[in-house]
């Protein structure tokens, strides 16, 4: 009998964590993938060998299917042998106490004493507006109102396929505190290219130290944003209140209440 099976109340060793199926440390994982090989017993064996190399024991191809042109699809279960040390994990996160919409409005009134101005767009070739609309537009997303609904916030949504230069020009025109760049398409790292271009332009305009540069999107993380020279990055499941909590807090932290105009 294995170590784990002796007791149902085995303590988790956080320095050696592995997947959980129905018994602690059983290591159970599932994956699915396609190999460019014809369907058959050899294909299944190839899938088994592949996940063994990934550190899986007792791989079980529970399903495979002929994709029709020399490709085979697999669902595989197996037991992972690797562990991670959970006690050593460090994640870079936007470090801010999240306030709700009403609290944000009050916080700005009390601590900033003027409206917070934000401009945003889905820039470059990206045609997706869902992200920037979710953050800025009145109706927001999934019951979380957008910045247009916030008190003491002036928000401008320029839409999609906006050139980076145009968004920066708008930021200067309305004397924005923050620029929000939304990126949805990530094929061939086009978002990295575009976000880098934006960061460089803001720098070249000489306003990098006068404005908060933020990006967001389903594949954006705060860590990535920081690597690219942004102040903050907002990934999935972040809403307008997260973004504004960050911006308002940061303005106060930096003493930008009476910041001179950008122009």
């Amino acid at each position: 009998m294995s170590e784990a099976a002796k007791t149902a109340t085995a303590q988790v060793d956080l320095t050696k964590v592995k997947p959980y199926g129905d018994t602690l440390n059983d290591g159970m994982m599932e994956t699915m993938f396609t190999l460019p090989v014809p369907y058959g017993e050899e294909a299944n064996e190839a899938a088994r060998q592949l996940v063994k190399k990934m550190g899986w024991e007792e791989p079980n191809v529970t399903y495979s299917h002929d994709m029709g042109n020399g490709y085979t699809f697999f669902v595989v279960y197996g037991k992972c042998q690797h562990t991670v040390d959970f006690t050593q994990i460090k994640v870079v996160k936007v470090d801010v106490e999240v306030m709700d919409r009403v609290e944000c409005g009050e916080y700005i009134a009390e601590n900033i004493g003027r409206p917070v101005v934000v401009v945003g767009a889905s820039t470059g070739s990206d045609a997706h507006t869902v992200g920037i609309d979710a953050i800025i537009n009145m109706k927001g997303f999934h019951g979380h109102f957008g910045l247009e609904r916030f008190k003491n916030v002036e928000a401008y949504n320029l839409g999609s396929q906006v050139p980076n230069e145009e968004l920066i020009a708008k930021a200067k025109e309305v004397n924005a505190d923050a620029i929000l760049v939304s990126q949805t398409v990530t094929q061939k790292d086009i978002h990295i290219i575009n976000l880098t271009n934006m960061a460089e332009l803001v720098e070249a305009e000489g306003i990098r130290d006068k404005i908060l540069l933020c990006c967001g999107g389903p594949r954006i993380s705060h860590e990535l944003a920081q690597e690219l020279g942004y102040d903050a990055g907002f990934g999935p499941h972040t809403y307008a209140e997260h973004v504004m909590s960050y911006i308002a807090t940061e303005i106060v932290k930096r003493g930008w209440q009476k910041r001179p105009p950008l122009k």
Partner: protein, 518 residues
């Protein structure tokens, strides 16, 4: 047919009348104007193709040349017809000479408009003949190989490399797909020219080029022969080059094209005057060659709330229908769009989606309704996503949709992988087969949630259309009544490409195509 939703036929008729008046009102504007893209379309149909030494497409070179000389109000058909008389050259030869700087079309001696029209007619008929030959080929394929059952399974390929797209498309066809849509590289909608040649490095898709169309058409014909079923090809006749791409689609036998009378205005910020004129030419071509258009109503529901804004979808369907009627598009070619986009947390959301889908079918009984899958509330939880797609498929078979754009469990994660497409086809086939005649068996409770919902949405659509009719389509869009997006009449991209026709202007294709020539 008795309405299962107990819809009042008088309200349907009223809504349709409003839409008819809206479209007719716009047609007066359309008839007075032309655009650079409409003119380039005429050139493409006349066989002008290729690029100059800085990769500007020859149709652009010629139209810009005429526009710069102030000749656009007369139309390129006149200038080309006239130049054919004066030089004895064919349109392609003329274009090459213009590109080489060896010819100024507007400085030649001028014949009358009637003479120019006569001179160009053989080339016009040759183009129509080519298109009709493609239409006939489609009919032959359909007769010989047959086609899938409706709802057609419609999947996308979007690798950015047309040759990789071919592999994915053929695999999808073998797995059961009926329609392959080749996704376009992002931002093509805003280019005021059509790129040239095959694409191997696009972003989020490939360029819609004539060469790409040709490559994919050939691949689908091949796989169609192999599996014994005609596979339809779809691309986008939208954006700044809407009519040019329709012409390319007609020449290369595309079967389905995304094409919406007002989508470009709302969602791509293309100038409204430009789009309205462009859509007419594109739709005349589509009507003529038997392409099914897909309108973009699903987009209202991703920008606006799908529950609250459902009536804008219905209103837009009526408008798209009536613009299509004016372009002589048959009902079966009308792929009016809608989508399964309500927040999955809404109580009874399925009932509301069902009401909307059944209503679309009842109002447009002969249209090839195009149903779009959930996207906005797909999360990366692929297991829940697969169930959302299953409910979407259930509504589709129940309500008798025609073109089913299959939802992908990995929506919001990446463009579809080969296995995602297989899983979505399996999902649809299972549900369509298992519930095939559900719609015939089930009636709805009188005055129940489903009936009431449909009646309310229809009434709101009728009221919106009445308002649009009163104020005019342009000013309604200026006020942001569609998709919650406001667009100024003189704003957006491409206005500089619109001009008023002079009294001798002619476009030889419009009357012939509307009349079903050849």
């Amino acid at each position: 047919m008795k309405s299962k939703l107990n819809l009042d036929p008088k309200v349907v008729e009223s809504a349709r009348n409003h839409a008819r008046n809206i479209a007719h009102d716009m047609q007066d504007f359309i008839d007075r104007h032309t655009t650079v893209s409409t003119e380039r379309t005429i050139l493409r149909l006349l066989g002008v193709d290729g690029i100059d030494d800085v990769e500007t497409p020859l149709p652009n070179v010629v139209v810009d040349h005429i526009k710069d000389a102030g000749g656009l109000p007369r139309g390129v058909a006149y200038w080309i017809g006239n130049a054919m008389i004066q030089t004895g050259l064919q349109p392609q030869e003329l274009a090459e000479k213009v590109a080489a700087g060896e010819l100024d079309l507007t400085k030649l001696p001028t014949a009358t408009a009637k003479e120019a029209e006569e001179a160009i007619m053989p080339a016009v008929h040759e183009a129509l003949h080519k298109i009709k030959a493609q239409t006939k080929k489609r009919e032959e394929y359909l007769a010989r190989l047959g086609e899938g059952r409706k709802p057609y399974l419609y999947v996308i390929v979007a690798t950015g490399n047309i040759y990789e797209d071919v592999i994915q498309a053929q695999a999808a066809a073998r797995q059961g797909a009926d329609i392959i849509a080749v996704i376009r590289s992002t931002a093509q909608s805003l280019l005021d020219h059509v790129p040239y040649g095959p694409t191997t490095e696009g972003f989020g898709g490939t360029w819609a080029t004539q060469e790409n169309f040709r490559i994919m058409r050939k691949a689908l014909d091949e796989v169609g022969e192999e599996i014994g079923k005609y596979i339809r090809l779809c691309n986008y006749s939208s954006g700044m080059c809407m009519p040019e791409i329709a012409a390319m689609g007609a020449l290369e036998r595309l079967d389905v094209m995304l094409n919406d009378a007002i989508y470009g205005i709302l969602f791509r910020d293309i100038n409204m005057q430009r789009t309205i004129v462009d859509q007419f030419m594109s739709r005349v071509i589509i009507g003529y060659c038997g392409i099914i258009f897909n309108s973009g109503e699903d987009n209202y529901l991703t920008t606006d709330d799908a529950y609250e804004a459902a009536h804008t979808v219905t209103a837009s369907q009526f408008i798209n229908e009536q613009f299509a009627v004016l372009a002589n598009i048959q009902e079966w070619q009308m792929g009016l769009g809608h989508a399964f986009e309500m927040d999955p947390d809404i109580e009874n959301g399925f009932l509301y989606e069902l009401a909307q889908a059944v209503m679309a079918r009842e109002i447009f009984p002969n249209a090839s309704l195009k149903y779009m899958p959930p996207t906005k509330f797909m999360t990366g939880n692929i297991y829940k996503g697969h169930i959302q797609d299953a409910l979407f498929n259930l509504v589709a078979v129940w309500s008798g949709q025609s073109l089913q754009l299959l939802g992908m469990l990995t929506e919001a994660v990446h463009t579809p992988h080969m296995q995602d497409r297989y899983l979505s086809i399996e999902n649809a086939n299972y549900i369509f087969n298992n519930c095939r005649d559900l719609g015939e068996e089930v009636e709805f409770k009188e005055g129940g949630i489903i009936q009431q919902r449909a009646q309310t949405v229809l009434a709101k659509a009728d009221a919106l259309l009445a308002e649009v009719e009163k104020e005019g389509l342009f000013s309604t869009i200026e006020q942001g009544k569609f998709g919650g997006v406001k667009r100024p009449r003189d704003g957006g991209k491409g206005l500089e490409g619109v001009c008023v026709k002079d009294d001798q202007y002619f476009n030889p294709f419009i009357p012939l195509m509307l009349g079903g020539a050849e």
